[in-house]
Amino acid sequence: MSSPESRPARKSFRACGIGLIALFLFVINVNSSYAGEAPTGWGQWWLPSVRSAHGPAIDSLFLVIFWITMFTFIAVETLLVIFLIKYRNRPEKKKAYFTHGNTKLEMTWTILPAIVLAVLALGSKKVWDEYRYSPASDDPNRALVLAIGQQFKWNFVYPGPDGKLGKYLLFPHPTDPKWPVGADGKDVTFEGVPGPASLPYKLAVAAINKYIDQENPLGKDFADPDGKDDDWAKAPGRGLVLPAHRPIEVQLSSKDVIHDFFLPNFRVKLDALPGMRGHIFFTSNMASSERSLAAAQTIPLDKLSAELDKPTSKDAIILIDESAPGTNNKNKDATGWRYINPSSPRASIIRNGMPFNPDPEVRNQVIQRLKDAGLTEVRITTDPGDWELVCEELCGQGHNTMTAVVTFLSNEDYDKKNLDKPYHPTTAPAQ
């Protein structure tokens, strides 16, 4: 059977080609007519920028593997295509070359990949150990935060000035004679009873659920002295605030199902398992303010109004030099602009960022005030400087809404917030 198939093959290939081009045009067409408000352009196609200390190692490993596999891929596919063309069935050709193999050749292509892979495995172990067994794990200077996932928001607990976390995720049982002690250290009466055990089972369960909902959604043990000064909130969904340029320990747990703590730009990912506590260590080498600043452009104050009218400036943030006299007004401005001090090392963001106020009157007042303060130029950026925490583990129906805003403050600002007391050997104890 010589191969008459090759002709229909070519024909159908051509037909497919034409069809495909038509489809491509259609896609582009449909897409642009649909796009409307949707983000345009094809987006960024490579690893997102890396902002953590251990990240570059992961990226270079990625690149090493990328080039090794790319080489293999190209080699294999090229050979394949060459063979297909060169050894295709031709009418004059009667028989293929008769061979059952070649031991030497086969040994080569067994051993070579094995060596390459062994090297990769070793490299991988090194980077992995640096990340998971980071020396930061016993750095007294590390900032600690406990992230507790729940459907579909995060709770963040900071240890407070004592630098120690209390106990969380302890919930009452229907047979407990007493409710857990309250935040003031006194016994609690809830639903008119001293404890769930005073109620019949069904009512006790209902009372406990109500107690959790209203009093203690995180199951905090108020009696634990370590937890007294913790910074926590009943309602989930707070932003995560972390210091930059300082080792961070994130402890992970969950109230209900498995969640995942993923910071794409920091190459950090770990599941938050209910009933267990995970630990990750990393250091950010960029603060949010630095990021905003890096993305900002300088605008003379005179041109600010015009600049803000551009549609691209819709979410613009204005950065002003706080060191200029008169600007230090705590920034409770109606415009909700975020102010930043670009030059001072104490760069800070006041985070009550509302959208830019389009009212020209208000705007002009603000600009006037800035001028009065002696400023001639400001910087402007659309980059708010915070990162997005992504939950990468399927955790239920609202999994795709489970994000949190992550802000990296400069170390001083982090200290000021009293989220924890860093054991800076060099700094004086916080007041």
Binding site: E5, F66, F98, I208, K269, T403
Partner: protein, 693 residues
């Protein structure tokens, strides 16, 4: 276990008389309740293809949602037909529905398409034919495997009609998420309420019989469950009921299977009360079917090889199915056990996987707690990693056969190929935790598993390069099966190489649970297994149905599939490198990923193209059956035994026992005029040639 049908009255007394009494089998035992491995194989084929349409349509829904996510930024695009049917607001798909679609797409594709097609269909069809046996070692057990797969499928489908939706916890069903009953919703039907049909008309009284009080099942799943269970029990009855008279036999069998059907249907409804429990139970049940198949295949290969068919003269497809069966045999039970424990947890009897102090939406859960969520993951992947090789090895085997046939050249390095299959299988058992690098398990354990995972690329390398070696200096015929087989090789390499990224614990930190994984999945499962299946179907179609397929349609189907496949799944690598999370209904919620909207749109368009291309396959499949040219015995001029008998082979396969004289791939042999030397044809010295090279 020795489930060989004996018509109980008389079978054993004359077990060894080789009398020649011919009792024709009735239509039912010949074509429906058949014990013939070929019929069973074809039954599995239809089952797999039907499920594939469903799985594919679900994939289309996934892509629909991802092309036009309904968010604050962009409006959705009403889903055609389904949107109206479900009464969604403006026809937009809600995110919880997306979760279900995604989970069911994967579950159906993996458990009811790939495994059914590769192991069920080709395992059944090819093993006896290729080793020169008349049938499987246990034909009845073989039939039972198919008929018990049906109820499993029916339970999986029933999930769609359950209150609170079908399973929505991904195909991995990690607890504690999968332990949530009714997917967190109340027990109210979610899907278009078919239960309205229930209490009207004559069906009412009958429905009461098969539907216990308090059952959550609506009419359609109850009826389909009842049918499949009755057919299942009926199969047993068809062979084991012997009261003497033919008609009495039938009557008793029908009555018994109806009774059995009622009992089973009622029992199933107690076990599976919502979508997730349906999922657990269905896969659990399917496991039994797989096990029966595996025991049968292994025994057949060990015992029923025809004279001269030594282990190292078996075609690679049989080798791969043999080793696949070993994987099924040893891995599936572990899945069964974890599914059972999960089911108990789901019913709130136990808490193997739920921690202490477990709270859901601020409600304490009334189970004891104290379990470990990670335990399920370990046991699941202890099965599911070997399972991914269950899903690729048979395809590799068939592709090896096809490549050799159409290169007109012996397979390059036959023995290393066999050892590579065995190596993959062995390593497959010690790599499972590479799915759990970021799950919070012990990081050192991660390193161990990373090393073993890396090394699984070595046997894969042997296979890949040997395939290339087979093509080298061949005489390549570009038939439709060959093109699909070549696509298998090139696409599997891409999928396999992306596996190396993930095998590195450190790189996996960034790409775990992103679309990089989704790209990998589809490159190995669609690019690999599915193209392998296409190749197998095109290759064996003449043998199965006695008709040739249409070549032109085959080419168009292949080229379109190949191009659209790459258009769909290649860009997913890019998404993954960006960190784009998988299993999300709406990525425009994320500021980090909303710029990838156009890329997603492009992917969706290609996916629709991929879906529509499959219609050509369907047309070809059905059309060739009706109008295809009659197939000769050996249309591809191949050497293995299945081509020595007519197309389709008769009941009993061979007219006389074939005798095998040499290896399976003697193409281009210098000893004969033709460029192929069938395994049954004796030529002096052919056997020696193998060892020389």
């Amino acid at each position: 276990m020795t489930a060989i049908p004996h018509s109980m009255g008389h079978a054993h007394d004359d077990a060894h008389s080789h009398g020649h009494e011919h009792v024709e089998l009735g239509f039912i035992k010949k074509y429906i309740y058949s014990c013939d491995h070929k019929i069973i194989g074809i039954q599995f084929l239809f089952m797999g293809l039907l499920f594939m349409i469903l799985g594919g349509l679900l994939a289309m829904l996934i892509r629909w949602q991802l092309a036009w996510p309904n968010s604050s930024v962009t409006p959705g695009h009403p889903v055609p037909i389904l949107g109206a049917l479900m009464g969604w607001e403006k026809g937009y798909m809600p995110p919880d529905f997306y979760m279900m679609v995604m989970s069911m797409h994967a579950s159906i594709m993996i458990f009811f398409v790939i495994i059914v097609l590769l192991v069920g269909t080709f395992g059944n069809y090819l093993i006896p034919l290729k080793i020169g046996a008349a049938d499987m070692a246990f034909p009845f057990l073989n039939g039972l495997a198919f008929w018990s797969a049906l109820p499993a499928g029916a339970i999986m489908l029933a999930a769609f009609f359950m209150p609170g939706n079908a399973a929505s916890a991904g195909w991995t069903s990690y607890p504690p998420l999968s332990a949530i009953q009714y997917n967190g919703g109340g027990p109210t039907p979610f899907i278009y309420d078919v239960s309205k049909l229930e209490y009207q008309g004559i069906g009412q009284a009958m429905l009461h019989v098969v539907r216990p009080d308090g059952s959550n099942w609506s009419a359609v799943p109850v009826i389909s469950q009842f049918l499949s269970q009755t057919l299942f029990i009926g199969f047993i009855c068809a062979y084991y009921i012997n009261v003497g008279n033919k008609y009495a036999n039938r009557a008793v069998a029908v009555v018994l299977s109806l009774i059995g059907g009622v009992i089973m249907t009622r029992a199933v409804q107690h076990v599976a009360f919502d979508g997730q429990s349906c999922w657990f139970f269905s896969v659990f049940w399917l496991g039994f079917s797989s096990l029966m198949g595996a025991v049968n295949y292994l025994t057949t290969v060990i015992k029923l090889r025809c004279p001269g068919m030594t282990m190292f003269r078996m075609p690679l497809s049989v080798w791969s199915l043999f080793i696949t069966s070993l994987l099924v045999l040893l891995a599936t039970p572990v899945l069964a056990s974890t599914l059972m424990l999960n089911l108990l947890d789901h019913h709130r009897f136990t808490s193997f996987f739920e921690p202490f102090n477990w709270v859901l939406t601020n409600q304490i859960q009334e189970n004891s707690g104290g379990g470990y969520a990670l335990l399920h993951q370990h046991m699941f992947w202890f099965y599911s990693h070997p399972a991914v090789y269950i899903m690729i090895l048979p395809a590799m085997g068939m592709v090896s056969d096809i490549l050799a046939t159409f290169s007109r050249k012996p397979i390059f390095g036959y023995r290393p190929m066999v050892y590579a299959i065995a190596g993959i299988a062995f390593l497959g058992f010690i790599v499972w935790a590479h799915h759990m690098f970021q799950s919070g398990m012990n990081p050192t354990l991660g390193t161990t598993f990373a090393v073993s995972t890396m090394f699984i690329a070595v046997p894969s390398a042997i296979k890949t390069f040997n395939w290339l070696g087979t093509l080298w200096r061949g005489n390549i015929r570009f038939t439709v099966p060959m093109l699909n087989a070549l696509a298998f090789v090139s696409m599997f390499v891409i999928g396999g190489l992306s596996g190396i990224f993930m095998a590195s614990t450190a790189v996996d930190v960034h790409i775990h649970d992103t679309y990089f994984i989704v790209a990998h999945i589809h490159y190995v499962l669609f690019g690999g297994s599915m193209f392998g299946i296409f190749a197998g179907i095109y290759y064996y179609y003449p043998k199965m149905f006695g008709r040739m397929t249409n070549t032109t349609l085959g080419y168009i189907h292949f080229f379109l599939s190949f191009i659209f496949f790459n258009g769909t799944f290649f860009p997913m690598h890019i998404l993954g490198i960006r960190g784009f999370p998988r299993r999300i209904a709406d990525y425009l919620n994320y500021t980090s990923f909303s710029d990838l909207h156009n890329l997603n749109f492009f992917i969706s368009m290609c996916a629709f193209g991929l879906g529509v291309s499959q219609i050509l396959f369907a047309i070809n499949f059905i059309g060739s059956w009706l109008w295809g040219a009659k197939a000769p015995k050996n249309p591809w001029e191949a050497t293995t035994l299945e081509w020595e008998t007519e197309s389709p082979p008769p009941h009993g396969n061979f007219h006389k026992v074939p005798v095998v004289h040499h290896g399976p791939y003697e193409y281009a042999s210098p000893l004969v005029e033709e460029d192929y030397l069938p395994q049954t044809r004796w030529v002096e010295g052919a056997d020696k040639l193998v060892h020389k090279h």
